[in-house]
Symmetry: C2
Subunit: 338 residues, 2 copies
DNA sequence: ATAACTTCCTAAAACGTTTCACACGCTCGC
DNA sequence: GCGAGCGTGTGAAACGTTTTAGGAAGTTAT
């Protein structure tokens, strides 16, 4: 009942053990009549392959892991969905691990994955310095692809989105709409994404708007509450100095700003225009639909998985690649002063 | 480099293979000096256990799977986080699989999991009829716990939330606020949750509000867009027949309603009060913070994992249990007519 | 001095699969 | 009629671990 092995199937079908294996893996090498006898035996006994034995023999597993910073973050769930498509298509299995931005948990996961001899790992590593946890995998010859982290290192592949460009797109749009006093809301700047998006906005301003001004209103983190606080602070400014538009480092901040401003009786976009970042599902569902910079999240996952499979196939001959995607501005009512 | 086995460690340390195994699994049975020699060898060779071999020998794996309908749904991601805590504490590993509400994908995942000889499966199955996919696992003796699905069957454990009670809580709250003309927005009623929540609301009305009225405005699904359409329809009613409050089958619908109503110049909660269901993260961040019925999502996951581990331990002596949690009403501004 | 215990270690078997070398019986082509 | 080649099947080895029975010393009790 619980565990029929290939051996019992063989006995049942009156063939040798190797023949059963052939039916499973190279059916064309087995005469139709024999094949059918074996298949019948399999069905009758409810035989199911034992993957441990198979892997042990093969020396490698068919599973690929993705280690994310937060399973509950819409960004990562979409990346996972993208990776899933590619991995399943290749007949492999994707397991999702959650580091929760905790380096110790990340390490523990990677150790377990190493014991399982995973085929490869997609990961957005915790922190942004050296990655000792990843070094071990590398020594072991397990392919690693960095997700949403550009890699200076030539020793592994990476996929990321051009956040500088994203900042630029948002800023150019606001300039096009005629805004000349604009605020950037986001923080902390130690997060590469926050810094890059600001850099892009600043660059666009330098090129395009000699007469315009970009004020930075740093936030402690990227939450709705932080956005609300930042908006409160903007409202303390004399009306003439108040920005006519804000560009937020992510959508959560933008939603907080939107909420605070409308709560205080200001109209969006007429009094203040808002552009967010990420284009999360609720950007479109906000009280005033939110303009936002969209990242190709699923594609990020798909591409990362493809690079990984490619590397796993190619082995030594593989050349590492760094793919950078371009974000896209989605204009909605919050910044559309018609 | 790539694969040092126990055998090489043994040779390196000048001991037998069994001794190395003892160092790994029963260190106290090994003399300190020998133990140290072995540990040094392990470190030097970068030895990592091969889990396939270990499992093959043990006949069972240490991984537990959770199969969800949608990895991107905040409800499930929270359940996953809860399950994760318990599973990791037990030294096991949780793998997350996504059925995407597709029965074929669900089956394929379960087959792979069966091949891996998983220790157990937490699952919210696709559909609500018979579950042939689950029957196979059961025959094989793999414990299964149903998540967010009450189970009539005594053959497995389940954890769920009392949706009837949730509907009742929402309704009683609205009645307490003095509302007498109330609408229930949600659909399709083939989804157990939608039907249960309505049943609870209806029951509360029957008991408490002899003079009140509950109008049902069915929707095609549970999205923001559906909520917006339903709100439009409500607005076609003559003002005197218009409900003064709406109870929505989930928060997405509620957000759609909120958006449409405020867009048309109505005030929430003064003109119309709104209560949603699920208490998703954005309920609190909406333009008017949304009252909602909160489900103990993480606890759902934790409990499910505990039941599973318990069953996996106990084996035959295990008695199946059905745990039902109580939801909780979170009152915010959208229904608080101060 | 011997038996009975410990303590520490070894050798070998087993888990279920895949693969490889080979054997058997045919049919061809010459 | 004979080697070559093909199609089909067999048996054994190997993957790396855990476990079990037991052996070789050393210690204690008699």
């Amino acid at each position: 009942m619980s565990a029929a092995s290939i051996k019992e199937v063989a006995r049942h079908a009156g063939v040798s053990l190797g023949t059963v294996s052939n039916v499973l893996n190279r059916p064309n090498n087995v005469a139709p009549a024999t094949r059918q006898r074996v298949l019948d035996a399999i069905a009758e006994l409810g035989y199911v392959r034992n993957d441990s034995a198979r892997q042990l023999r093969a020396g490698q597993s068919r599973t690929i892991a993705i280690v994310v910073l937060d399973v509950a973050n819409p960004f990562f769930t979409d990346v996972v969905r993208g990776a899933e498509q590619v991995v399943e298509e290749a007949g492999a299995m994707l397991v999702v691990c959650n580091s929760g931005e905790d380096s110790a948990r990340e390490r523990r996961h990677l150790e377990l994955l190493e014991e399982q001899r995973v085929r490869g790992v997609l990961i957005t590593p915790v922190g942004h310095g050296r990655q000792p946890n990843l070094g071990r995998l590398h020594n072991r010859g397990i392919p690693v692809v960095l997700v949403d982290r550009g890699s200076g290192r030539a020793s592994r592949c990476s996929v990321a989105v051009d956040d500088v460009l994203g900042g630029r797109l948002a800023m150019e749009h606001l300039l096009d709409q005629g805004h000349r006093r604009i605020a950037y809301l986001g923080g902390p700047f130690s997060i590469p994404q926050v810094a890059d998006r600001h850099a892009g906005a600043a660059a666009a301003l330098a090129e395009r708007g000699p007469a315009a001004e970009l004020r930075v209103a740093p936030t402690t983190n990227l939450t709705v509450a932080a956005g609300r606080r930042a908006a409160e602070e903007l409202l303390t400014l004399p009306v003439r100095q108040r920005p006519s538009a804000v560009f937020c480092a992510n959508d959560l901040i933008a939603l907080g700003v939107l909420q605070e401003l409308t709560g205080r009786g200001l109209r969006v976009p007429d009094d203040v225009a808002i552009v967010g970042y990420d284009d999360i599902e609720f950007a479109d569902a906000a009280a005033v639909p939110l303009s936002s910079v969209r990242q190709p999240r699923e594609q990020l996952g798909r591409t990362a998985a493809q690079l990984l499979l490619e590397e796993a196939e190619a082995g030594e001959s593989h050349r590492h690649r760094h793919v950078v995607f371009q974000p896209e501005l989605v204009v909605r009512r919050s910044s559309d002063r018609r």
